[in-house]
Symmetry: D2
Subunit: 507 residues, 4 copies
Amino acid sequence: MITNDVEDEGDLPGKLKEEKKEEFKHRQRRQSLGGQKAPMRPRRESTTSTGSWSSYTGSSSDEEATNPKEKEQSNSKGCSDFCVHNVAQAAFGRREIEIAQQEMPGLMALRKRAQADKPLSGAKVVGCTHITAQTAVLIETLSALGAQVRWAACNIYSTQNEVAAALAEAGFAIFAWKGESEADFWWCIEKCISADSWQPNMILDDGGDATHLMLKKYPAMFSLVKGIVEESVTGVHRLYQLSKSGKLTVPAMNVNDSVTKTKFDNLYSCRESILDALKRTTDVMFGGKQVVVCGYGEVGKGCCAALKGLGAIVNVTEIDPICALQACMDGFRVVKMSEIARTTDLIITCTGNKSVVTREHMDRMKNGCIVANMGHSNTEIDVNSLRTADLTWERVRSQVDHIIWPDGKRIILLAEGRLVNLSCSSIPSFVVSITSATQALALIELYNAPAGRYKQDVYLLPKKMDEYVASLHLSSFDAHLTELSDEQAKYLGLSKAGPFKPNYYRY
Amino acid sequence: MITNDVEDEGDLPGKLKEEKKEEFKHRQRRQSLGGQKAPMRPRRESTTSTGSWSSYTGSSSDEEATNPKEKEQSNSKGCSDFCVHNVAQAAFGRREIEIAQQEMPGLMALRKRAQADKPLSGAKVVGCTHITAQTAVLIETLSALGAQVRWAACNIYSTQNEVAAALAEAGFAIFAWKGESEADFWWCIEKCISADSWQPNMILDDGGDATHLMLKKYPAMFSLVKGIVEESVTGVHRLYQLSKSGKLTVPAMNVNDSVTKTKFDNLYSCRESILDALKRTTDVMFGGKQVVVCGYGEVGKGCCAALKGLGAIVNVTEIDPICALQACMDGFRVVKMSEIARTTDLIITCTGNKSVVTREHMDRMKNGCIVANMGHSNTEIDVNSLRTADLTWERVRSQVDHIIWPDGKRIILLAEGRLVNLSCSSIPSFVVSITSATQALALIELYNAPAGRYKQDVYLLPKKMDEYVASLHLSSFDAHLTELSDEQAKYLGLSKAGPFKPNYYRY
Amino acid sequence: MITNDVEDEGDLPGKLKEEKKEEFKHRQRRQSLGGQKAPMRPRRESTTSTGSWSSYTGSSSDEEATNPKEKEQSNSKGCSDFCVHNVAQAAFGRREIEIAQQEMPGLMALRKRAQADKPLSGAKVVGCTHITAQTAVLIETLSALGAQVRWAACNIYSTQNEVAAALAEAGFAIFAWKGESEADFWWCIEKCISADSWQPNMILDDGGDATHLMLKKYPAMFSLVKGIVEESVTGVHRLYQLSKSGKLTVPAMNVNDSVTKTKFDNLYSCRESILDALKRTTDVMFGGKQVVVCGYGEVGKGCCAALKGLGAIVNVTEIDPICALQACMDGFRVVKMSEIARTTDLIITCTGNKSVVTREHMDRMKNGCIVANMGHSNTEIDVNSLRTADLTWERVRSQVDHIIWPDGKRIILLAEGRLVNLSCSSIPSFVVSITSATQALALIELYNAPAGRYKQDVYLLPKKMDEYVASLHLSSFDAHLTELSDEQAKYLGLSKAGPFKPNYYRY
Amino acid sequence: MITNDVEDEGDLPGKLKEEKKEEFKHRQRRQSLGGQKAPMRPRRESTTSTGSWSSYTGSSSDEEATNPKEKEQSNSKGCSDFCVHNVAQAAFGRREIEIAQQEMPGLMALRKRAQADKPLSGAKVVGCTHITAQTAVLIETLSALGAQVRWAACNIYSTQNEVAAALAEAGFAIFAWKGESEADFWWCIEKCISADSWQPNMILDDGGDATHLMLKKYPAMFSLVKGIVEESVTGVHRLYQLSKSGKLTVPAMNVNDSVTKTKFDNLYSCRESILDALKRTTDVMFGGKQVVVCGYGEVGKGCCAALKGLGAIVNVTEIDPICALQACMDGFRVVKMSEIARTTDLIITCTGNKSVVTREHMDRMKNGCIVANMGHSNTEIDVNSLRTADLTWERVRSQVDHIIWPDGKRIILLAEGRLVNLSCSSIPSFVVSITSATQALALIELYNAPAGRYKQDVYLLPKKMDEYVASLHLSSFDAHLTELSDEQAKYLGLSKAGPFKPNYYRY
């Protein structure tokens, strides 16, 4: 169903084109390109894989500036098949990994349940993702399930050096550090693809770079790959294009759009991170505040519920009458920004659209209005329109700018219009656990699928696997599922093991 | 997509088979067969079309028992092409219709916007639905849009006689009264299908009886029909079966599963009616009560939110790990019935399943526990298991039975296990307005579609029409939609007029 | 503290004067004079003692109209010291009493705990309250604790005849029926005060009529009374006046203002009954509705919370800046009625004030606006201003009038401006249980107090007893209190048995 | 009423004695002694006056360690009547003050409304409070109203040096820096009391140190003071003791217990800060978490509401049956800690009691349980019991310790058991604005009261002033108060200007 979708597209919408351009200009910002699921397209950059490093304060300033490629390092067992900032930081990274494990019940349960089976025995995985404590839990889980891995970063800035060190110390072939150059970036990925006596048979990608590098430079190797797992909007989009042009010779799994992951990335995670991001940056009191939330998709629903719960008066802007009607039924006034800008204390964009907050709106806002983006990329607030001679920018804290109008009015802009949930709060490990478990299961599914089940196309995770990911996380809530009796299963026409809903079911 | 669904079914699940049997045994109870959408199947009996007659107290007891077929009646203009209980009751019915109009903004807006166009000009509609004040608003809207109609009841008990009288007085060919016999029932439908100089070209059906009667007895007439609009689970299912067996020679529209209708029938309506039904029957105080809601689909979500909002402590049972995880994230404990039955004050079933509450559970419940069904049909609570010699039934109020155990323990059973939202509360006209507007738009779409757009198959309402139904209801909330700018539409790859979401979007 | 209050008043405020006048004009409406606690004065008519008879449908119409005084009746044991409508209705009444017992854990627990002690042994109580199933549970509890009682109705219309019959059958000296004349009313009370070999020593009053009759006609008997328990605003006010003028020769307990009772009468009860009353009368859908709640005291807080929880958009009017600020912090816009009348769907008054909704406001309201009073008496909505020649009243259902403006606009007025929670919904027995337990404890306290503890004055229930009432109701929620350790009690300077808070504590 | 309270006390409860001892041992920790209002006593340490400096990162490390007393500084106008860390930091402090002004509408409105009157003209105020941006707004407001002031810190660590610099630069006689020694502390206060041609006539105190120093060392000066305004539990308690022993020769105002301040310090502020404190320290996801909140006073109510709103499952422990019943009605299970410790993810204490969480409880807790104190002082969690040889403490982040059991179980202890809302989150300026406006009005009231209105005693702020403080803050919510008509005021027996409620009203 998804696969056909792309066929009709003909031309790419402007949105993905613009992002693509942006991506190659400023690869280092990719984490902020992500954002929540665009309402219109099921593919997305992952937000969750960026992890919670925002609450981690590395102290790299006092360290030597030598390029890791030029250092000779080996871990305590003498192995040196890795390249990280400083393997001596392993202990600190290991503790971060252990803390992350406590909030990642899905992967830990998977490790426990499947360790005997070793369903990834024989799998040789090239991984290319953000390198965080949560990713480390994923990597070590894959290893526990039998896989061999080689891993690089999908972003030149997002690597937690201590975590990379801990992985290297544990014997993993890890090639990543914070602050890679463009050349370093490709060098690291290449080290994962091509190595002595190493024929990879699986790719776990976030953005599509490992996939595309292998396809271009190592086509023979690529043709032997059994499957690709991709979690970002951009990466998924590139796969659909490959598929359309007939170049995708390998089955691929789009894990970006599995139900469980989407709900956690958007509704549940944002419901908490909007509060966190606003408090950390502005110490604002929510009670009694007039708020406008732009867009009533999953992200908007989460933001609205959280703010209403704390006594804010929330209004919504929407273009889609169905979502607008939902906002009405949930107790929110549906307004146009132009009607309400003048009396609003707090504006949050969650649309996936561009220029939702314009200079004209901001000209009307009252003194002290806070403007923040929870939606997509950095396009929702027209920040460029604020870079004019008549306005003064004043950085008052990290991630907080006052934009000062000639009459002294101040608008408080957060994270320069980038995603505040990524820039100004952390992502709970539990959210990442959902994503990571989904990735691991997609690997297992593709690796073990009987020949012919998957063709050279892009697939969504089977619903049964989506349900399995959810079930892996229930125990941490001490939740007890009810089992269907035989009679009930027959009555409903269902298997007792699921799947329990048709594909079009709206959770 | 939906159409393919049925193909794979091979055998019907036991659920629909059982219902079918039940339906022919007790046609008069069809309204209660309905219930909310079964989580597993998109087709359903309509709940909404049964309207709010529960709050209406007819006084038929003192009236003569003459069969309307044997009476000679004509309205004030001399027309006698109708058959109702007593056309003299028209004034009272007219007032009920006027009250309903105030809460049916969708139809009233449609009347206003499309009256000039007369998009149903030339349409000759056979209607077969519940006959309530809300239906009357629909019928008069179709007429205002240019249609000619003949209308019968889809249920032998649900007709509001005064409303039927008002329609007859207004000149409509209406054939329905409360308490029809089986023979009357078919006679009425036949009067709508077959009449002098009347070749119907559209069918608006609720349950499929008009469709099937015409197909069987008037196949030639049927072959000239342009389209069928069907809103019930059962009717839709019968259409899919016709389609499968190649007998569906006419395009049909399944309005049961349009997004807007589904959300209102289930989530929004049940959120309010659970409270209403419980208060009207038991005067129970919600604050502090221990509640179990079985099933966390849309109906369960609505019940949970409403009860939590009033200070109840709500637990959930689920078979589906994804829904269970949602319940956790919304703050509900996920338990098994057997763990919790002993300490619970109130149990509400919303599953679409059978025997969710068993005799064994009820044996464990504490004195005074209230048991109610909001889900589907009358199967969720195993009421038959309570009809044993050791238990005493005591009817304490209308719709309220005390089941008394030998030790004096009482369980309070509502509506004998049938749907309490239908039996013990009323459906707000606003909810019916959504359904009716959807039906009207489906008629317009099928009637005006260019040849070839719809084949001899069953279709879902196009998303754009779903969005249109929503938009028709926004004005009653004074909600103001935002319009996309040209630039934004291009960026998103959308038309400014919608549809705004892909088909698989989860609202 | 309360006692001094009255001293400073000098003149009565107009409010109580007006009510007083109203009371003697229309004694039969006393239940509707009640209402929630006026924000300004702690005394009030009881709402709760009126019980849930609204959900009870008596069938007195077909019964003979003989005045009970003229009938000769005796119960099955041959006793005839009572006067009720028809003692043969006892069985039905008994069942209602049994149902009420299930929701009155406080009294039932008291019965159990104190039955051995018989703390009311020797007490001879004249009772004068509404006669409902809940009152019967109170009466039988007093009896179980050792008291002898004689009981009359405090209202000529509120007696549930079947319950009175059940009490008579059980041997109680009960004198009350529905539809007493003024003369009957006083005759019944007198039968309770004066009887052979009966010197009452306690009075339990609701409105002060038993107290005043005894004081006037039987002053010698009155002087031997040990204590009075009074629960209504009016009755309490009359006691304060007696006290001021030196005529109160007996200690009296004001149970109207105990913390627990007040919270349940106002916040917790109204939070539910506002929904119930609106649904039963109008079937309105709450989601998305624009609401104005006038007054943000306990009643207003309850109404606001309930409606917000179901998706209404709630605005508040207030005169008191502290309450207004609370409304802001709870997420409600604070507005003036004149600003918002035009766009509102639903207006609820909860102020204790008069003319909060004026004709001018109603002239501005939009078609279909619902207006209801939850506050006090029937003064909050200026209903008289609607009785003008230009407006048409149309009774559409019981308790629902459409007021029709010349241009066709309809305002929907509930209960003619009287309290909708009393007129259009029922009071849960649990709420009455709190009040009744408070009354019973006040009787026990006054009856058993050592000489000198209470003087000839009006007292509030000691906080420790208030806490005891609360504790009696905890078990029905399976709530487990924590006990202070010795060390903790010392640290806090508290007794382990309470009271736990100072008198001025704001719960 | 409050004044009498103390009379009966005879012996101080252990609580205040322990605190007193603690205070003199560790004066520097006074901010954390504060905490929310102890349920049992109306007096308290102020939480709000500590302001939001936790979100401010001073950079004192690189500065010289010279004692400010030994530096010679003068501001740009040549004035040197102050002693601060470094007057050159004034610009940064000024910006912080300007930001604070935006969230302190009460003081800003007071400044505007009363600037013409200069109600403090002639007032000579000795101030002794925390020195923060919010205090600066208060100081400058007092000055704008006509007062002369000299100001010292009430805490040796809480001064924001940059703010003190800005005040010095603006010409205020400010004597305070971060990190004063005990000797410095008293020196600074003395500089404010005694100066050339300075006879103070008002004291604004937080903790009572300025009051007591003046009383002891400058009794003649003290006797000329017109009034004292005190906001802390400790300071108020000391005043009551002075009063009892006949040494209070001056009227004093207890602003700690005014309604508005109390609600904001406790309910509204804690509702937000509990979330903030937990997120900043642990990044925990709230959805689905099992929580125990100990104590259901205002602080507990705020914590419960906030966490429930985000999907946590909240249980409550209580000793007081009235509060316990409220918890039930609000939808929380009331449990004992021993029953629930084993399955809880998050424990929050809000009791004002000691040893609410014991070692025994913590021995039972599950791995990863977070324990935090929102209540009072550092006594609620028995932290000392964790300092045993068998447990390992690991500091994982600032304010976050892992306590590790021999079997590897980790308990996550926040802020070593001190108040997390003070230690780990910031207090919104809006909350401080309420407190500061209350202080300013108390000064105005005492300074302008006609002779005889206030005697040598401790008073609560008149309700009318409490209402005025609330009204000053309404405009920031664009809230519109309704005014009583003459007729309504007469009906209610109220003045149109308030006060609107009796003293015992429970908001």
